[in-house]
């Protein structure tokens, strides 16, 4: 049942050392403010699941929060490497990082299987490539009807899903618009969830009859953090800050400049620092 709270309380109550956590958002609505709060609270030994690790996991890996990463594409989109992720894999800095590597199709299927309460995801995939040789959790199953060999991987069942959405109403119903990613599946697959939103409104506004809404009884903690997806974006509120994604390449390349940035912008700040990036709501097509 949804509970509206502060971000600090939401993270403290829901994310513990050693948990399996999925921060989702496919380019859009990436929960940056929640990521910063997890780092500030000093969580350790997390297993992180995410299709595209992106800057949020680069930051958590570089700050030593992470034991294992379950993922399918670990880069800075359109820019290049995630340097903290690479440093951990190539030089075990600051800690060794265990990898469980998949393809996008596999990860998307595994979230869906988790949401559906199934033990595994079955799909036509991984044919001929080397990933099954390095990931023992990729197995195969024979279709009982056709005899076709299909790939199977365990369903994702995170302890906690963390997402950012445009808005929630006072009852805790959460509405998501635009590029949807796998957030709905991630929340439904998880035992607990933390949702940050641009705003909490009395009632959800006029919407399509098929709008994506997570009912309040499927959601855990909700915190209003305007601007909380920056430098990712919130459709209808503010655009993706592509120039920051390019700047991150330089910030993260070097261990010292990374730490200086994290101290100034994360450790010494709070969620309210994101408010400066928040836009005011406008029609999606503007």
């Amino acid at each position: 049942m949804a509970r509206i709270t502060s971000l600090a309380e939401a993270i403290a109550a829901n994310i513990h050392d050693g948990d399996t956590v999925a921060l989702e958002g496919f380019t859009h609505l990436i929960p940056h403010a929640a990521c910063h709060e997890i780092i500030r609270q000093g969580r350790k030994s997390l297993t992180l699941i995410r299709m595209t690790p992106d800057l949020v996991y680069d930051q958590m890996i570089g700050m030593g929060c992470v034991k294992k990463l379950v993922f399918s594409w670990g880069g800075n989109p359109g820019v290049g490497s995630l340097h903290r992720f690479r440093d951990a894999v190539e030089k075990q800095w600051p800690l060794p990082l265990e990898l469980e590597e998949h393809s996008h199709a596999a990860m998307a299927n595994a979230y869906e299987a988790g949401a559906a309460g199934q033990p595994c995801a079955i799909f036509r995939g991984y044919i001929g490539g080397d990933l099954p040789k390095v990931n023992p959790r990729i197995k195969h199953i024979t279709c009982p009807f056709t005899g076709e060999q299909l790939a199977a991987i365990p369903a994702h069942r995170p302890d906690v899903a963390v997402i950012h959405a445009q808005r929630a109403d006072k009852a805790g119903n959460v509405m998501i618009e635009g590029v949807l990613g796998v957030q709905k599946e991630a929340v439904l697959a998880s035992k607990r969830s933390v949702v940050t939103v641009e705003e909490i409104v009395d009632e959800l506004p006029a919407r399509s009859l098929n709008a994506v809404v997570l009912p309040h009884w499927t959601v855990g903690a909700i915190a209003a953090v305007p601007g909380g997806a920056f430098p990712s974006y919130a459709q209808g509120y503010y655009p993706r800050n592509n120039s920051f994604y390019k700047q991150w390449d330089d910030i993260a390349k070097d261990r010292d400049s990374f730490h200086a940035w994290m101290k100034a912008n994360v450790l010494d700040k709070g969620p309210e620092a994101f408010a400066q990036y928040a836009g005011t709501r406008h029609a999606a097509a503007e």
Binding site: F26, T27, H28, M51, T52, F71, S72, W73, G74, G75, P77, G78, V79, S81, L82, F85, R86, V89, E90, E101, H102, S103, H104, A105, A108, N109, Y111, E112, F123, R124, G125, Y126, I127, G128, G129, D130, L131, V134, E148, Q149, G178, V179, L180, G181, V182, K184, E185, Y233, Q235, P239, R240, N241, N242, S243, Y245, K246, A284, A285
Partner: protein, 256 residues
């Protein structure tokens, strides 16, 4: 003839490979530039699909990421990522998929995972993303990659996504029914699979490029088709549209 860069020739040659009725799964970078150039020139009705779930998108600038807001705002509709991969990609509804990589071999298998051993990589690359299933689910695959000895290698460090596997009918023997890589477009030439061996073979050389240059930038002994054409040079209009697209994109990304 207009002055142009080898990468412009590469993007333009890739754009020309696309038809007006194609349904195309677009990757970020070179593929995105080629697909949008095709849409802005000879293929205005082409359906472009990005893996963020945007179906039939018409961006005015190139997205930096696979899910920039403009892709969604200009799309016919946007579906969730599981639906994208299950119904649209794996359902076999996409005719052309674009791929690139850090390494390619002569059968157009691709590596985007690691340089060096998987457990102790010299360079950890981003990984497969959508590629393993794009490579087998799309009707056919076009690959865009600039040539060089470090990227065009005799043996891949890791097979992220398959092309023609070990040649001949080895791809079909894995149970894959789609065509695989039918074109490899580089900054020097266009390769296509040999009908028998499936080895990627030079079928067209870009203007001013020599066979020696192609060989010097390839880590295996390059085969040339019996009849090798010269790629037509970029037209003034192709160059103008491509450069305007890149200029618009640079302005937009600097502003945001």
């Amino acid at each position: 003839m207009a002055d142009y860069k080898p990468t412009e020739m590469m993007t333009i040659a890739a754009a020309r490979s696309l038809k007006n009725d194609d349904i195309c799964f677009v990757g970020i970078g070179q593929p995105s530039a080629a697909c949008n150039l095709a849409r802005l020139t000879h293929a205005p009705d082409i359906t472009l699909i990005y893996e963020s779930g945007t179906l039939g998108t018409k961006p005015t600038v190139l997205p930096l990421s696979i899910g920039d807001g403009e892709l969604c705002e200009t799309a016919l509709t946007t579906v969730s990522v599981p639906e994208m991969f299950r119904y649209w990609l794996q359902g076999g509804r996409i005719k052309v998929g674009f791929l690139g990589g850090a390494q390619i071999d002569k059968y157009a298998n691709l590596n985007t995972t690691v340089v060096g051993p998987y457990d102790k990589p010299k360079v950890r690359l981003p990984g497969g993303g959508g590629a393993p299933e794009i490579a087998t689910s799309c009707g056919e695959i076009f690959i865009i990659m600039a040539q060089g000895k470090r990227s065009f290698v005799d043996k891949l460090d890791f097979v992220t996504s398959i092309g023609h596997v070990s040649g001949g009918d080895s791809r079909q023997k894995l149970g894959v029914k789609t065509k695989g890589p039918t074109k490899l477009i580089t900054d020097l030439a266009i390769f296509a699979p040999d009908p028998e061996t499936r080895e990627m073979t030079v079928v067209s050389i870009h203007p001013g490029v020599t066979r020696e240059q192609i060989q010097d930038n390839t880590g295996w002994t390059v085969k040339f088709a019996a009849q090798v054409e010269e790629t037509p040079a970029p037209t003034a209009r192709e160059l103008e549209v491509l450069r305007e697209l890149h200029a618009r994109t640079a302005r937009a990304h600097a502003a945001a």
